[in-house]
Subunit: 283 residues, 2 copies
């Protein structure tokens, strides 16, 4: 496995692969890898000749009060895990390599699907995500790129950007990976104390409860949300950021589940903000 730190070297590598007719799968991450990242690599490995993973904690997608400085980092461990999973190249640039001028003058704005959910509580977040992902796409020039469905709104934003900007890359979604007890895997789970780790189960359990109610015929969004809210608030440290049920692709608000819907929530457990979601078919 190769560790590349500069844009020039990354470009040369890509060019040589493309000239050799090799397809490139790309897994953008902020590092501190866990099994969910490795499931992205697994899919990328299966669909492409070569796999590039970027590890870059992107300052542009963090708010001024957020956890950019403390976001967990462990490059050595990440390299071992990535190599074991079959990554060919880790692209790990310094912030100054990606942003010679910060903040950059150019930004990609995606409207319509970024004003709600995480976009509402994290203003500018998706602009930072879209901008850095576009930059990484232009540097790595992959054939396919892999995104986890835990960051569901992010996946929609990237897909919209790719469609609107005619980017020559295929976006491949990968299902949420969960711990055995149901907690959605996240690098931020590392922030949780043992007690908080236990409380954090409320997120996936609330979603599971919603799914059960829905399977039993409950289609009214307000009732489903009330039930989830009650479940979450059983935990002493839980502070709800949002619990919402929206159209699965447009993120339009719903009052009743009559088509594909996403149940999405963001909850603070102590100082740690966690997100999770669930897709409902709405047949």
């Amino acid at each position: 496995m190769e560790l590349i730190k500069t844009i020039d070297q990354m470009r040369s590598w890509t060019e040589s692969q493309r000239q050799a007719g090799k397809t490139i799968g790309f897994v953008p991450t902020m590092g501190y890898l866990h099994e969910a990242h490795l499931s992205l690599v697994e899919k990328a490995r299966a669909q492409n000749d070569t796999v590039v993973m970027s590890i870059f904690v992107n300052p542009m997608q963090f708010g001024p009060q957020e956890d950019f400085a403390t976001y967990p980092r462990d490059l050595d461990r990440d390299c071992r895990l990535a190599e074991g999973a079959g990554v060919d190249v880790i692209f790990h640039p310094e912030p100054g390599e990606i942003y010679p001028q910060y903040p950059p003058l150019t930004a990609v704005e995606v409207k319509g699907i970024t004003e709600c959910l995480c976009g509402k509580s994290r203003p500018g977040h998706f602009t930072g995500v879209a901008t850095v992902v576009l930059k990484l796409f232009n540097i790595v020039q992959p054939h396919r790129a892999y995104f986890g469905q835990k960051d569901y709104q992010q996946l929609l934003v990237i897909r919209q950007m790719v469609a609107d900007l005619n980017l020559p890359v295929i976006i491949e979604p990968v299902p949420i990976k969960r711990e055995e007890d149901g907690l959605a895997m996240s690098s931020r789970n590392a922030y949780l104390s043992p007690a908080e780790r236990q409380e954090a189960l409320a997120l996936s359990q609330a979603l599971q409860m919603c799914k059960n109610m829905y399977s039993n015929g409950e289609l009214r969004v307000s009732l489903l949300i009330e039930a989830m809210k009650a479940r979450i608030l059983q935990e002493p440290s839980a502070v709800i950021d949002y619990i919402e049920i929206r159209h699965a692709t447009t993120l339009a608000p719903l009052t009743e589940i009559t088509g594909p819907a996403v149940v999405a929530l963001a909850v603070r457990i102590g100082k740690t903000r966690l997100i999770d979601n669930l897709l409902l078919e709405g047949n």
Copy 2:
């Protein structure tokens, strides 16, 4: 010469050229070609194996009160001129091919150099320009792209976007082409009546006067601007949009010319808005 109207066909053509190891020069235009466009083609021809010209009147860069509907169009004539100049492919998509949804949800914003000059009188213009140019770059995937210096601020915006988004394309500027009497070539010159055509000479003459004053040692921006203003206002139909002297790359305002500067103006002659500019070395 080939005329391509769909994104899919354009992509296939590009892919085949790139696989054959051919370099692609790209000349984005809004059509109604004149000699200045052909000088872009000439440079592209000299530096690349193949040349693609796009002809697309981009609705996103026109304001609601502007001349999108009446912008001059003549595809047959454009094809003849382009073929004569050595263009290999004209990419001429319908608006619905470029914007399946209008306005698109995704836009590229370039800050810092778009708030002044034309950006001030045409809000949203450079967002429309940057967005469509990025889309065209992603469709055509050229090695080099050619932009005229008459649209000086546009050239800076494209360069900033290319740098900030790490686009794998080289931007090549091409000097302003002028009619024999000095008028900068523009498709919008077609709007001018014979009398207005005569008045329009005020723009290039004002710039020339500024250059002479500067060569004679006048470095004070306010005096240079006053002199140009007086010259422009000799014309009965002339209404000044702006006359400014700014830093040549940052577009920061100047009070004295102590380094590279751009003298830029926009003037309405009757209903026609014309722009022109001049670079001063500032040694």
